[in-house]
Symmetry: C2
C-alpha cells in the first residue's frame, strides 16, 4: 500500500451506499504533508510530459492542485462552478452533474487562462462517474489545448468514470483505486497499485 492507501485504511470511514469519508485528512480537514506527497507522486508519474499548467475545479480540488503545481512549478487554473458576477463574460463552459451532491453545475473557465498552447494536467480529489472530469476535458478541448494527463487522489474503481477516461486513451493516474468497501466491517479494498 502507498501512503494514501495507508491513510485511508487508518482514518477513512465507510458509510452505507459506498460512501468513503476521508474528511479528517483530505478535504474538510487537510494534512498538508499528504498533499505534498501527492504532489511529488504525480510529478513522478507524469515525468517527461510537457505540462505547463494544472487545471482543477473548485472547491476541494484547489488545495491538491496547489500541492501538484508546486513541484511542477507551473500556474494552476481553477474552474468555477456556476456563473459568478466577477468573472468576465468571455468564458468556456461545460455542464457537469455531481454524483455526490446530486446537482447539475455549469463549470466555467476564463478564455484568458486556457489557450491552444496549453499542455494541461487535470487534478481532482475524487473520481466516481467522471462527470466533473469530462467537463474539465471539454474545457481544454474547447480552448484547443492538450490534456497531457489526469491525476486523481481517490478513484472509485467500481464506478464507470475511470474506465471511460482510460478507454479514451488518457493517462489517468489515481493514487488510490477503491474496488469495494464494507460498511459493516469498515474495510476498504484497493486495486493493486503499480
Amino acid at each position: 500500500m502507498n501512503f494514501l492507501e495507508e491513510r485511508i485504511v487508518k482514518e477513512g470511514i465507510v458509510k452505507a451506499g459506498n460512501v468513503l469519508k476521508v474528511d479528517s485528512f483530505l478535504n474538510h480537514q487537510i494534512d498538508i504533508d499528504v498533499y505534498r506527497q501527492m504532489g511529488e507522486e504525480f510529478k513522478k508519474r507524469f515525468e517527461g510530459k510537457p505540462i505547463n499548467k494544472i487545471l482543477t475545479i473548485e472547491a476541494s480540488g484547489i488545495g491538491i492542485a496547489c500541492a501538484v503545481a508546486t513541484p511542477f512549478h507551473v500556474p494552476l487554473v481553477s474552474a468555477k462552478k456556476s456563473t459568478r458576477i466577477n468573472i468576465d463574460g468571455d468564458v468556456y463552459t461545460a455542464e457537469v452533474e455531481s454524483f455526490t451532491h446530486k446537482t447539475k453545475n455549469q463549470i466555467i473557465v476564463s478564455k484568458k487562462f486556457l489557450t491552444p498552447d496549453d499542455h494541461i494536467l487535470i487534478i481532482d480529489d475524487f473520481l466516481a462517474n467522471g462527470c466533473a472530469l469530462q467537463g474539465l476535458i471539454s474545457l481544454v478541448n474547447q480552448a484547443g489545448g492538450t490534456v497531457e494527463g489526469i491525476g486523481i487522489a481517490i478513484e472509485k474503481g467500481f464506478q464507470i468514470g475511470g474506465q471511460i477516461i482510460r478507454n479514451m486513451g488518457y493517462q489517468l493516474e489515481s493514487l488510490a483505486i477503491v474496488e469495494g468497501m464494507n460498511d459493516e466491517t469498515g474495510e476498504v479494498f484497493f486495486r493493486e497499485n503499480k
Copy 2:
C-alpha cells in the same frame, strides 16, 4: 511596495464599482510562487503565536490556506458553504452574506475539527465588509477555541470589515490594503504597509 502590492499594480484590473480583479495570479489562475511568498510572510507576522491549525472557507481561501499551513506545518480546516450531504450532522454553523456574490450562505464546520484546544489562524483571500470573517470567528468561538490571528491577502481598506475586526482586538494582517482605486486610470492606492 511588497511582492503582492507590486503584482496587483502589474496585473490587477480595476473595474467600476470598486471591483479589483486579480484573477490572473490570485484566484482563478494561481501563481504558486505568490502563494508560497504569502505563506512565508504570514509565518513571519504571526511568529511566536501557538498556532496549531489554519481555518479558511471554500473555495478561493483553500489554496492560500494550504500555502500558509506549509511553513506552520499544521493541518488546515476548510469551512464549507451550505449543507452537503456527505458532511455529518454534528457541525457548527454560521450565516454569512457575500459582498461579491450578493448571496447568503450557511457556513459549516464539523465539530470533530474545531475544539477548545485549538489555536487558530484564520486565512482568507479578500476582506471587504468582513461577513465571511465574522462567520469564521463565530465558528471558532462556538468550539471554544482561540483565534490567534487573521491573515488576509487583499483588504479593501475603504470598507468597514478590517476596522471592525481590529476594533475587536484581533491581530489582523492584510498583505495589501487597498485604500482606493481609479477605474479610469487603472490606478490602485495602498495604505502604507509596515
